[in-house]
Amino acid sequence: MSVKQREVARRVYAKELSDSTLSYKEHDDTYAPQFLLTPTGAKCNRLFVVGTLTEKENVGVDSDYWRARIADPTGVFAIYAGQYQQQAITQLSSIEPPAFVAVVGKLNVYQTSDDQTKVSIRPEFINVVDMETRRRWILETAGKTLKRIAEIESASDEAARARDYYKTDKHTYVEMVVKALKALKTE
């Protein structure tokens, strides 16, 4: 018997995540992990994000249900934490925006009433971090994204699937990386 491998936390910019609509499971098992494939071919189950917490609000009626927004240089990540993210709720309630935060979480993919696919993060952990950590994340994510773009024509399953589904325009995502890096340079 082998222990279930922990899913890797991918690095993806907010813009790319919000462009992502292809979610799937690799097998039918109820407990099989759900993946979201991004346009550059990142196969995400868990995500590690560092950005600026710009808003938070408890939108729950009977119980705690927190909504928060975290910005990176390319866009905004939506965060939703409910009763099963108790740790994140405790943390979120004590952080005042704006603040640099690191979030580890799983993805939640859903359809809105007008049939749009939306992606949000269900946080496992939120922590206040320093500016340097945020800068390093932006740089790291640029490197990872660029590597995926470079390999989008390759024969790997993820690349092929992303290519077929999104008809990925490399240009769009290279520009996104450039934008993030330029923002980093002018800070």
Partner: protein, 309 residues
């Protein structure tokens, strides 16, 4: 060379792999290929080798002429047949009659537990000896790999001595989780095992000895690694000493406050860690917080990106 000689040669080659292939069967097949089907001898030999390799070994040995050795650190799946060149690092006391020998095999890449089954009737391995050990099966238990020496295994002493690496690895990434069992813990004074609610699984009720550790998860976006900080390194990582931790726990009437504090200090931060790799853990021996990023690093990626535009 006549068919009979060739058949013998092939059969011997298989037995070197620890696989018994009757020489008559080999000869029969060779004869049929050469005499009846007019296949050139070389091609007939090749065909017979791959035919019996597929038939008699589990995964098939594509090239029986050459043994491919696996580095211990590269063992990453169970139920695979592998060949090892390894040194017997340690022998342990077998705890069952069905086990002839149990211990640790090492090569320059790492070490792995082995079990030699009594039923396999293999030659006895000497502690400190280096051997070529062919056709062992990989096993996995709770995420740790081991190898099982069985009836099909063949063992030959090596002239060279295998250097066992405690090669240190260096990895970097963000700590994205701190697992339960971190923070302030108690160990059994007899066996050093972590005890739960004052009970050691081996020694029953004992008065534990306090210790401090971090079982973390380091993630670089491509690979996750379980990492273990001992007391000294935990103190350096968190700035919390064992004495501080005890005070925190007493004041809160809850030892979990220590783990919670550690989480808030390390999760989401980037580190470079150095340490010894075991099958499951990186045992951290040294670490540093990652330095401020370099303008040059930004420029080099920016340049690469602009190359695509």
């Amino acid at each position: 060379m006549d068919v009979k000689e060739l058949a013998e040669q092939i059969s011997v080659r298989f037995s070197e792999q620890g696989v018994h292939v009757p020489v008559e069967e080999v000869e029969q097949r060779l004869t049929s290929l050469v005499n009846e089907f007019k296949v050139p001898v070389d091609e007939a030999k090749r065909s017979v080798l791959s035919y019996f390799a597929k038939r008699y070994t589990k995964d098939g040995v594509p090239d029986v002429a050459e043994t491919v050795y696996t580095r211990i650190a590269e063992i990453n799946a169970e139920d695979k047949w592998v060949n090892l060149k390894a040194k017997v690092v340690q022998l342990w006391e077998p705890n069952a009659l069905s086990i002839a020998q149990v211990g640790l095999l090492g090569d320059e890449s790492g070490a792995i537990k082995f079990t030699s089954w009594a039923s396999a009737n293999l030659p006895i391995l000497q502690e400190g000896g280096s051997y070529s050990i062919r056709s062992v099966v990989t096993k996995s238990w709770q995420g740790r790999f081991s190898v099982s020496l069985n009836k099909a295994t063949s063992i030959a002493p090596l002239d060279e001595e295998i250097a066992v690496g405690r090669a240190e690895t260096e990895i970097q990434g963000a700590i994205i989780d701190v697992q339960s069992g971190s923070g302030l813990i108690k160990r059994c004074p007899e066996c050093n095992r972590v005890i739960v609610k004052g009970y050691c699984t081996e020694h029953g009720k004992v008065s534990g000895v306090y210790d401090l550790r971090v079982k973390g998860v380091l993630d670089n976006g491509d690979v996750v690694t379980d990492v273990l900080f001992n007391r000294e390194l935990t103190e350096r990582l968190t700035g919390i000493t064992l004495e501080d931790a005890k005070e925190m726990a007493i004041e809160a009437l809850d030892h979990n406050v220590v783990a919670d504090k550690i989480k808030s200090l390390v999760i989401g931060r980037y580190y470079v860690l150095r340490g010894n790799k075991t099958p499951r853990w990186l045992l951290v021996t040294d670490f540093a917080k990652l330095q401020t990023i370099d303008e040059q690093d930004i420029d080099s990626i920016l340049e690469r990106s602009e190359g695509y535009l």
